[in-house]
């Protein structure tokens, strides 16, 4: 029995001065991830310091927007939705939703690509993933 992804209403996102560039890019259909310029390592989630060195020598760089499902679950609420960690090709594991598919067919290791889903009002879109 299939469980189609619902189009549940998404709450507004709390944009702050540090994460604003991430969400500005999301409005343009681009997904960014953190890069520590001290170590050359990517990090998630975006923040104003390097979680490797604590310096502020960081920038947001564009991700390819593709990856695989590291783990997932389907919340069996009235409007079912699939919560997942997606491992991006850059290596970081991102807390997200898998959408636009039969939720009963989601599998660990499945290849996925980024999609942007509108949230409430003028709030920026959420970064989600769908099977390739």
């Amino acid at each position: 029995m299939a469980t189609p992804a619902s189009n549940r209403a998404l709450p507004a996102i709390a944009v702050d001065p540090t994460n604003k560039p991430y969400f500005d890019a999301a409005r343009e259909g681009r997904m960014l991830i953190g890069l520590c310029k001290d170590t050359g390592k990517h990090f998630w989630y975006p923040r104003g310091c390097s979680p490797f060195t604590l310096s502020n020598n960081v920038e947001l760089v564009e991700a390819k927007g593709t990856g695989t499902v590291y783990t997932f679950t389907v919340m069996r609420t009235k409007e079912p939705y699939c919560v997942a960690y997606v491992e991006l090709d850059e290596g970081v594991r991102v807390f997200t939703n898998i959408v636009d598919c039969d939720l009963d067919e989601v599998k660990i290791g499945q290849k996925v690509k980024v999609v942007f889903k509108p949230t409430t009002g003028d709030s920026p879109p959420a970064t989600m993933f769908t099977p390739v």
Binding site: F52, T71, M75, R76, G91, I108
Partner: protein, 390 residues
């Protein structure tokens, strides 16, 4: 320095209510504090150290200390890492007592999520304002249930753990809860009952989840000279360990918990090993929580938790590691959505020989209590204490 032998748990009290329609949260704090002091044979004016969490009403410990009339305080601590905080408070209280910062410490927990009809596990919740991870998790419907379910899903994928094995944890808890007159769920359930209960968040069924209950509990710790003057059996704090685990900058690994670090710290301080433990209180927000913590604490190899918990191995009188003999959070009580307090209380009952006769571990002298607070799948605080009957 070590806290081993520097403090004793001299009072413990679990509120009998599971639905507190007619009591405020502050009132519940007062009732559990009074209960624990009565148990110890002490009064509120003996208390010079006070421990609660940010979940207590007010600013840290200030409003509760005022409400309770605690006027002799010279040490307080409101460390909050969610449900495991109260296990951690035992360690912190022992540290404070060992340093002479206080002589008699009171730890309280109370709450009424059930009376307030809170959707504890299935509604997205933030821990506050300006939380930096919220914009990257809350819009995706992060809930307590799905943050644990994703760990279960990955554990099944990596190690072949099954729903039936997880179900054995609930079955064991229900075998214990049948003897607890205060337990919310006293009916003994089978593996089939668990796996046939409605799916909440794959692969966790309704019966893989803990109860939502009101109430609370309190503990009193005291320095050895005082503990030995009191009439209650002596329960000594032997060791404590704490740790946090988080997403590790995006390189998160959901196959283990912070117990991997808090456990060895507690065992080292106590000078014992998992094999020495006769009774274990293991945080049971969900069945998967128990399974992963048992592995991480060293009761079995990583990945072997499913086999370890199967076939009644956690049932008192049946298996090798009796756990949560009050029925735990899975069947008895998870007051204020925080199970660490009741974990310590049941360990104290076992060491005193005051557990229900049907679940009492004969000659129980060494017990462990362990908690996971926050979310297993994002960021959590782990706390382990090892207690000994002297």
């Amino acid at each position: 320095m070590s806290i081993n032998g520097k403090a004793y748990i001299v009072g413990a009290f679990e509120h009998p209510t599971r639905k507190a329609d007619d009591k405020s949260v502050a009132q519940l704090h007062a009732e559990v504090a009074y209960g624990a002091l009565q148990d110890a044979g002490l009064t509120k004016d003996d208390v010079d150290g006070f421990f609660c969490t940010g979940a207590a009403p007010g600013l840290g410990p200030l409003n509760m200390a005022d409400y309770l009339g605690l006027t002799k305080l010279r040490h307080f601590d409101s460390t909050d890492v969610g449900g495991s905080s109260y296990v951690m408070h035992v360690g912190h209280a022992a540290e404070a007592i060992s340093m002479g910062l206080c002589d008699i410490a009171l730890v309280t927990l109370a709450g009424r999520p059930r009376a307030e009809a809170m959707a504890t596990g299935t509604a997205p919740r933030s821990w506050g304002v300006n939380v930096p991870d919220d914009p990257f998790e809350i819009p995706y419907g992060r809930t307590v249930a799905n943050a644990y379910a994703m760990c279960a899903m990955r554990h099944m994928y990596e190690f072949g753990t099954t729903s039936e094995q997880l179900a054995w944890i609930k079955v064991a808890a229900s075998h214990h809860a049948q003897w607890n007159e205060h337990a919310m769920l006293r009916k003994v359930v089978t593996v089939e009952d668990v796996v046939n209960s409605p799916m909440v968040s794959d692969p966790l069924h309704r019966l893989d989840c803990c109860v939502i209950s009101d109430g609370g509990g309190a503990l009193i710790l005291a320095k050895p000279e005082i503990a030995k003057l009191l009439k209650r059996p002596l329960v000594k704090v032997r060791g404590h360990g704490e740790a946090t685990k988080n997403q590790n900058a995006g390189y998160t690994d959901l196959t283990y918990s912070g117990a991997r670090w808090s456990g060895p710290r507690a065992f080292e301080e106590a000078g014992v090993t998992p094999k020495d433990i006769q009774y274990a209180s293991i945080y049971d927000s969900f069945t998967i929580t128990v399974l992963m913590q048992l592995e991480d604490l060293g009761f079995c190899e990583k990945g072997q938790g499913g086999k370890f918990v199967a076939d009644g191995n956690l049932i008192s009188g049946v298996g090798k590691l009796p756990f949560n003999t009050d029925g735990g959070g899975l069947c008895n009580n998870h007051p204020a959505n925080r199970g660490g307090m009741t974990k310590v209380i049941e360990a104290v009952r076992q060491l005193r020989g005051e557990a229900h006769p049907k679940v009492q571990v004969p000659g129980c002298t060494l017990a462990l209590a362990h908690g996971t607070g926050g979310l297993l799948g994002t960021r959590h605080g782990s706390a382990t204490v090892i207690l000994e009957r002297e």
